[in-house]
Each structure stands twice: as structure tokens, then as C-alpha cells.
Amino acid sequence: MQSTARDFKHNAHEALVDPNLQDSLSKLKVGFSERRRQAAERLPEFEALRDRARDIKNHTLANLDFYLEEFERKVIALGGHVHWAPTAEDAQRIIADLCKSVDAKTIAKSKSMVSEEIGLNDHLEALGIAPIETDLGEYIIQLRHEPPSHIIAPAVHLTKDQVADTFYEHHKALGFTKRLTERNDLVAEARYVLRQKFLEADVGLNGANFLVAETGSSMLVTNEGNADLSNTLPRMQIVLASIEKVIPTLEDAAVLLRVLARSATGQESSAYTTLNTGPKRDGDLDGPSQYHVVILDNGRSSVLGTKMQDMLRCIRCGACMNHCPVYGAIGGHAYGWVYPGPIGAVLTPQLIGVEEAGNLPNASTFCGRCESVCPVRIPLPGLMRHWREREFEQHLTPRAVRQGLALWSFLARRPKLYRRLTQLANRMLATFGKVEGRYRSLPLASGWTRFRDLPAPQPGGTFHSQWARQRSRTRA
């Protein structure tokens, strides 16, 4: 996917003036966080489970090579294949070759953020292979040629009316000539259209929430059941997942599942939890005859053993973006690449470079709400700050910011000079602002005064000057 993260400010502006998007976001901000809160409160051991979830992921990351190889051994023993993809291009090539090997014309996909990361759909289309998204949200945005705006709710930026228009436009040719307006009718129509696609598909491709080393299983949660069709009907199944999806055991999966759905949607568990363990066996009534797992690195392994390793604990629940006031203001597309919100602000610079995505870790107030809800306790603000430090070290921070900062820190280290200057500033701003009590505009402060007044200082001098006067009077 082509990044527009560099244009973050412009993207954010567009988002803020888009009434449909703002309408959708106003619902998302309240809905997700309230449901998560209720789910967490209903489970007394929720906080303890978050600790365990964090520990499981930390243990796995500390022994990642071991668990990945263990997973591979199990998959091979089951009659499946594991393909290692160091880069996005490698993953594209591996999947395209697999599709070609069975002369695939269409592939049924269930939601996979990693497939967005590697730009799989465009690549396959260029080769004449039609990828069909079968997750409802992904299907909608595929029709609209848009990227997802949320990692678990890809079409959350759209209103029902926009979906109605999209279906009307694209389903006309299939004989659906009525513009539907009811939610259930829209779902039913999509279900009907997609059912045909499942039956036609030569290959089923899905992501994975977890790869279980103990059993060689890939585990997937959905609320629509589409993954179960896309991975049982076609003759070849491809699982596409990144290296940090592996976990040791099914017991560990049970812990992670308990925090995943609650954090994501406030459900106790997702409607469907599916384990795929190898290809169809002798005597099985259905299932794919070929089972392939493509495991992508794409720069992740380079953060192992560094301060940034914590980002790999992520289980992609979306809670950080559901609770982020910046995401809530601008939605996911403004972030300009695959992963939006706080986790996107941390992952994206790693995956496509901090030169390209430098705005993302800066566009945060560090309010900490993301960290406070993260089921695996990723210190997201701390990781964003770490990116800011990298940018500063590499002189990527904008010149005006660097110069302002240099002047300010020069003064901050000279308390006496600082006192004299702040006393002067206080006097001036207090005197000219005395009547109104505030400024509607002020030179060099337009970033502030464009949208809000600047309160004038109280008259009478700085605190330190007043304090010094008072103390000398008391002593005298």
C-alpha cells in the first residue's frame, strides 16, 4: 500500500471537514470504549489476565526462534507447508506462485491486515488473479477501492447511507436493482453475493490471530463466520501471518482470547473461534487438500532485543485506537498507511521508515488512554517518545521546533536569566492583556490563537518574583 503518512497534517484536515466521517466517528468514540469498560468490569480477573497476556507474549518474544521452528515442525508433520517471507515482496511472490500452481482465478480472502501490509490485492490483480474480500467491512471497502480505516472494523469510517450507495452501484449488475436502506437487508444482500464467490474460489486466504506452536494450528476469530467458508471450501488454504503471531500453547491462546474480544468489542468471545490444523486428512469430509502458512518478517525481527520490542506484543484488538482522542478526531485514513491509531504510530515508522511516518508518533498528547486499555500493556506513549528521540537524533525534527527547543533549553538551564526574562514577559503580557484578560491573537502564538484565546498572565509579576518580595518583607 502506498503511504501518505508524510501528508498526515493534510490528511487530518480533510478528515476533520468530512461530515460523514465525523458522524461515524462520533458513534465509534462512545460505543467501543463503553462496551470494553463493561466487559472488563464483569470479569474480576481481567487485570490479572492482562498481566498474564503480557507475560505470555514477552516469553514468546524472548524465545521467538524456538517457537517459530516448533510451529514449522508441527505444520510439516501435519502435511502442511511453511514459507518464510523476509520481506513484503517475498510474501507477494510466494503467494502468487502458490496461486499459479493451482491455476487460481479467484481467491476468497478473510480479513488479514498483513495482506494489506504487503499490498497483496493489487499484486494479485496485476497477475490476473481476483482476490475477493469476504469480511463484510473489507468487502465494502474493496468495492470502494479504499484501504481499511480500523484494524478490526475496516469500514467504520462509513455511514450506513454510504454503504447503501456502494451496494446499489455495484450489485445492480448482479440483478439487485433496489437501493436498500435497512442494515439487515444490506447484510443479507452481501451474504448472498459472497456465497457465490466462496463456491467459485480456488484458493482461500486468511490471516491468523495466533499461530500455536504446540499443535501447528492457526487460530482465527471472526464475528461473521466468513473465514470458516474461505478456509474449508477452496482446495488450497493459505494462512498469512507475521512472526510475532506465534504463541507456545493452546492454554496460552485461551488466556489471550479472553482479553482479545473484551478489549476489542466488549464481547466475552468473538462469535467464531476457528482452529485450522493442517490439510484435509484421510476420512475428513471437507477441508483444503493443500495447507500453506506464509510467515512474514518485514523488519519486525530487527526490534527484537531492543527497547522497541514491546510493540510486537500487540494482538491487534484495536482498543488503543478505540480509546484514542486523536484517532477519534480524525479516523484511520489520516494516518496514511495500514495501521492507524497509537499502535500504528509505533509500528508504521518501523515498517516503512521514520522519515516517511515521522508525524505519527508526534501526533499524540501522550494522554495515556491507549496504554491504560492495552490488553498486553504495551507502553505506547513511551514507544512513541522513543521514535521522537530517534527523529531528534537524526535531525528529522522540523527546524523551527529544534530552534525553539534549543533556545528554551538554553534558558531553562540558566535560572537567573530565565527569571529576568519571564518577569519581563509576565509584565508585558499582563499589562497589555489586563483589560480583556486574554489575547485573541499574538505574534508567534498563532498555533494557539488560531482556535482559542490565550489567557493573559495575572498582573503582579511571576510567582518567583512575588515570593521573593514576600519573603524579604517577612524577614525585614
Binding site: 498528547t365 501522550f366 484578560g437 511571576t462
Partner: protein, 256 residues
């Protein structure tokens, strides 16, 4: 009052209180003295270093942190009328010196002595009541660092509950960020504006005539937006109301 010797408390004034609203500092002094403390203001303090820290300038942050630690060495308690600055001193300073064990030990000792004002009054000093009067309905915004780093939530509400004439009416989302975020509000003014606009809408919907919080940065941001929107809601630091200084000009309010 207990008969133990009075506690010696160093006030970390914060740079915004020093420059914009000294009355918050004097309110803090009064609250601490009323609770039996001896308050001192170490003269070599400037800023906690967050502007540099949050802009990625680690070297300047360390230099400023070392200066703050030196200025406050020897005090048993360091108290700031700001959750954001207190959080910086108590939660972030030690991590700055991971490569310098001696300095890290000093930073850890220092961090353990630092407190946010409301939490210090209630949790450390055991204050449950203040002698103050404020006639009106107020709503309280939970500033992010105080709330999520330091657990400041109930303490200000406990103390506000003892203020005569004051009624607290909660807004719908008191825990959602106001969009200030230090340099964030000038680096991303449009996004910050959307956030603070949402906040002021929520404040107004509460029906309260006064908005209180424990951090001057957030207060200036919300006051500035309320005033730009023409909403007649007074904005004050919670310490001012608790110290009986609620009759002064509110933030951004002039003589007119």
C-alpha cells in the same frame, strides 16, 4: 492535628504557574500551610523538562532533570500543583539515567519524594476537609497524567466535597484528554482544536458554571476555547477554590 513535627515541603511551582497564574502557587502554599507544613520554594527551579522530553531531546532533558534534582535535594517532600509535572518528576526522571547508576539512584530517591498536590494533601497528609466557600456548580476535568500516571481521581473530589456552597456536577467524559498535550496543541492545532471543542461541549452540557482541573496547561487550553466560543463558564485551578481564592479573576478573565 497530630503532634508530630511539621513536614518541610518544597514547592515545585511549575513554569506555567510561575509565568501565567501565580495565585495557583500561593493557593498551594496556603493549602500546605493549613495542613501544618512548612513550605519552601527552592530558588533554582525552572521547568520539569517536559517540552524537551516530549520532543525527543533527551540530552537537554537530562541536563534539566539533573538541575531540578540538585535544586530539591535535601527536602523530604516535593509537591507540584500539576499532575503532569509531578508525573514527570516521579515517573520519568529515573529512566533518563539508565546509563548512569549513580545519577539514577539520586533520581529514584528524588522521584519517591515527589507528589501531586491533591494526592499529597489527601493520601499523605490525610486532609479530608478544607475551610473554603464557593457558591456555584462546578465540573471537574481529570487531567491525563495526574489521572493515569498518578491515580489522582477521588482526592480533589473529596476535598471539593467539603467546600461550602459548592455543588459538583460531573461531565459525561471527564477522563478524556482536552487536546492540550504541551507542544501538541501548537504542532497539530487543528486536531487539538477538535479535541478541545469536544471537551468544551461536554463541559457546557454539564450545566456547571465553573470548570476546575489540577493542571494549568489544560485549564488555559479549555479556558481559551470556552472564551473563543463565547461560553460564560469560569475556569479555575482546583487549588484556588480549595484555598478560598475563588473570588479572583478566573483564567482569561480581565477587568472588563
Amino acid at each position: 492535628m497530630s503532634s508530630s513535627p511539621p513536614r518541610r515541603v518544597a514547592l515545585f511551582v511549575t513554569c506555567l504557574v510561575d509565568l501565567f497564574r501565580p495565585s495557583v502557587g500561593f493557593a498551594a502554599v496556603k493549602l500546605l500551610e493549613d495542613a501544618g507544613c512548612i513550605v519552601e520554594v527552592p530558588p533554582l527551579q525552572v521547568c520539569c523538562g517536559q517540552p524537551a522530553y516530549n520532543s525527543g531531546d533527551r540530552a537537554s532533558t537530562k541536563a534539566i532533570a539533573a538541575q531540578v534534582i540538585a535544586a530539591f535535594e535535601g527536602y523530604e517532600y516535593v509537591v507540584a500543583p500539576s499532575g503532569s509535572c509531578a508525573g514527570m518528576l516521579s515517573h520519568h526522571y529515573p529512566g533518563l539515567f539508565d546509563d548512569d547508576p549513580k545519577m539514577k539512584a539520586r533520581a529514584e530517591t528524588f522521584a519517591g519524594r515527589c507528589h501531586e498536590l491533591m494526592a499529597f494533601l489527601v493520601d499523605v497528609l490525610g486532609v479530608t476537609r478544607v475551610a473554603a466557600r464557593y457558591d456555584g456548580t462546578v465540573t471537574y476535568h481529570d487531567s491525563c497524567s495526574g489521572l493515569r500516571e498518578l491515580g489522582v481521581k477521588q482526592q480533589p473530589r473529596t476535598l471539593l466535597g467539603s467546600v461550602e456552597g459548592l455543588r459538583l456536577r460531573e461531565m459525561r467524559t471527564p477522563e478524556v484528554c482536552c487536546g492540550f498535550g504541551g507542544t501538541f496543541c501548537v504542532k497539530y492545532p487543528e486536531i487539538s482544536n477538535a479535541m478541545v471543542g469536544e471537551k468544551t461541549g461536554d463541559v457546557a452540557a454539564s450545566g456547571a458554571g465553573t470548570l476546575l482541573a489540577g493542571d494549568l496547561g489544560c485549564l488555559m487550553n479549555m479556558a481559551g476555547k470556552l472564551q473563543r466560543e463565547g461560553r460564560p463558564i469560569k475556569v479555575r485551578h482546583v487549588a484556588e477554590v480549595l484555598a478560598g481564592m475563588g473570588d479572583r479573576h478566573a483564567i482569561g478573565e480581565g477587568e472588563r
